[in-house]
Amino acid sequence: MDSKELKDLMEYVSRSNFAEFELESEGLKLKLVKESAKTAGSVGAGMMPQTIYAMPFPQSQMAPMANPGPGPAPAAQKAGAAAHPQGTASGEIYQVTSPMVGTFYRSSNPTAPAYVEVGTMVKKGQAICIVEAMKLMNEIESEVAGEILEIPVANGQPVEYGEVLFRVRLTA
């Protein structure tokens, strides 16, 4: 897609009734989000003063990469394959990130063997580590099938929300 096609597309979307528009083809991923669609619903929710509700613990889940963050408006984000592997094709690298802040453990208890090692082949839904937050052991499952290439975090180390825990080479 050249810049003129992109511009035409953006104009078309801005005139349309669509709130969001996504296109994926030949290694290109494009997402257009209208500013009005992004702010509706979120404005007010974060305004103060507000009443607090106790939140449930986040569920064990993978935080997908290429999170559409609050980009420039109108948000034309190119999530290129090189920058953020989407993890759909065999052979690509998928980054498993921490769904919560807490402490990273590679095994279910200090005497148990690690869930996975570098080189382990994992299945989708297989438990691969634990992130402990407020004394609760949250078992983290792999969202993808593939081979563990790298574990950048050491056992017992604190992790932030969104921190990379594993790099996985996807299998078909």
Binding site: K38, T39, S42, V43, A45, G46, M47, M48, P49, Q50, T51, I52, Y53, A54, M55, F57, P58, N67, G69, P70, P72, A73, M100, V101, G102, T103, E132, A133, M134, L136, P158, E160, Y161, G162, E163
Partner: protein
């Protein structure tokens, strides 16, 4: 004293708390959502932890994430700032269970004073005047009508869990009350998940006056005088000042006594604010805020007391650094809230600040966490900066505010600066001739 404090907030108040900790030699931990990773409170804190995505409920309001961040950084106290978890009794309770000091009052005090109908009962039992109204929550329209006829129309229906004007409705007569009563309950349920409302006499033209309280954990309690916050729109404060032009020395003394009596009735600890409405020389307790207020700087300017440092010292078990007789009000201070919003419609106007130049010079203070090339996020509140001036008297504070507003540059987004300029040049404002309905002449 604490070694490390985690700041469970963002924006200017998080930065304000970083400053206080630096002055006290305490290390700081900033927590932040993903889009806030480059913000100034993160940059100037000693450590930082990303606790979740943009949405507050999954980051700044997520109790388990905040606590987990405190645990992995080995924090011994948490300052909640204002908003977010600052008035969550549940959060204060969890902090206690995790042996992390919550910088604020005890959980049960937050719970009692956070429920407006209960707080009203506390004040009434302490002998402090409250507006005529219901004893606690009113559940049925019939009961509401009986109370309204007793106290006389107009009446106001308020959410017991309320704040920010939500769940609040005025009724001029029985017909209107029948219409708005279920609406207020529904709005209250939607905003606070409890439909409880209570009823008060509605004052048509009051002034909003609040008293700053400081209390240590050894039973010492003082007040730092009043703030006038009558310039508001839909119960959102726009300009605050200290002292108020409406109080005589005698009235000030009586209101301060009432404030202290109310706070003593719940054995209050740390910083808090007692809010009153004042009309025709009579004052009425309306609510208590169990946290540091947005407008705390005007009190700091006229008393010289650093309220945030006092909060930290109190939570660390220290005695109040001053006695009541040490508190002297010097000069006059005004605060203008500069928001990212359309000055005509008040609609939030988030976006990228391309140029930012804060004013300076004698008697000027700017509490802000913005800078050139920074984005005002649509996810959080729209405050850009608090512009505060101090002068030997009110006229000097006003002229300093006017020249500061003139040279303050915020480009790329719409701000409330034009509205603030209009208010500051209004002859009635300049004479101190104001009420909570003052802004109606400029905005609806």
């Amino acid at each position: 004293m604490f070694k490390k404090i985690l700041i469970a907030n963002r924006g200017e108040i998080a930065l304000r708390i970083v400053y206080a900790c630096r002055e006290l030699g305490i290390k700081t931990v900033a927590v932040h959502s993903e889009p806030d990773k480059d913000s100034l409170h993160v940059r100037f804190a000693d450590e930082d932890v990303c606790i979740g995505p943009a949405r507050s409920s999954e980051s700044y309001l997520n109790i388990s994430s905040v606590i987990a961040a405190a645990e992995i950084t080995d924090t011994d106290a948490i300052h909640p700032g204002y908003g977010f978890l600052a008035e969550s009794a549940a959060f204060a309770e969890v902090c206690k269970a995790c042996k992390i000091k919550f910088i604020g009052p005890k959980p049960n005090v937050i719970a009692t004073m956070g429920e407006k109908s209960k707080a009203r009962e506390v004040a009434r039992k302490a002998g402090v005047p409250v507006l005529p109204g219901s004893d606690g929550v009113v559940e049925e329209l019939d009961a509401a009508l009986v109370i309204a006829h007793e106290i006389g129309f107009p009446v106001i229906v308020k959410a017991s869990a309320g704040g920010g004007g939500r769940g609040m409705r005025i009724a001029q007569d029985a017909k209107e009350l029948a219409r708005v009563f279920p609406v207020a309950r529904e709005e209250s349920r939607a905003a606070f998940s409890i439909p409880d409302v209570y009823i008060e006499k509605y004052l048509p033209n009051p002034r909003h006056i609040e008293f700053q309280i400081l209390a240590d954990e050894k039973g010492n309690m003082i007040h730092l005088g009043e703030r006038e916050c009558s310039i508001q729109r839909r119960h959102q404060k726009v300009i605050e000042e200290a002292p108020s032009t409406a109080l005589s020395a005698d009235l000030r003394r009586r209101m301060a006594e009432a404030a202290i009596k109310t706070a003593r009735a719940v054995k209050y600890e740390n910083a808090g604010t007692i809010e009153f409405l004042l009309q025709d020389g009579k004052f009425y307790f309306i609510e208590m805020n169990t946290r540091v207020q947005v407008e705390h700087p005007v009190t700091e300017m006229v008393t010289g007391v650093d309220i945030v440092k006092e909060q930290i010292r109190i939570a660390a078990g220290e005695k109040l650094s001053r006695k009541q007789e040490d508190i002297v009000i010097r000069g006059h201070s005004i605060e203008c809230r500069i928001n990212a919003e359309d000055p005509e419609t008040f609609m939030p106007a988030p976006g990228l600040i391309t140029t930012y130049h804060p004013p300076g010079g004698p008697g000027v203070r700017v509490d802000s966490a913005v800078h050139s090339d920074c984005r005002i996020s649509p996810y959080y509140d729209s405050m850009v900066a608090k512009l505060i001036t101090h002068g030997g008297n009110r006229d000097e504070a006003i002229s300093r505010m006017r020249r500061s507003l003139d040279v303050m540059v915020v480009e790329g987004i719409k701000t409330s600066i034009p509205l603030q300029k209009k208010i500051l040049s209004d002859p009635d404002f300049q004479k101190g001739n104001i009420s909570t309905r003052f802004l109606e002449r400029y905005v609806r």
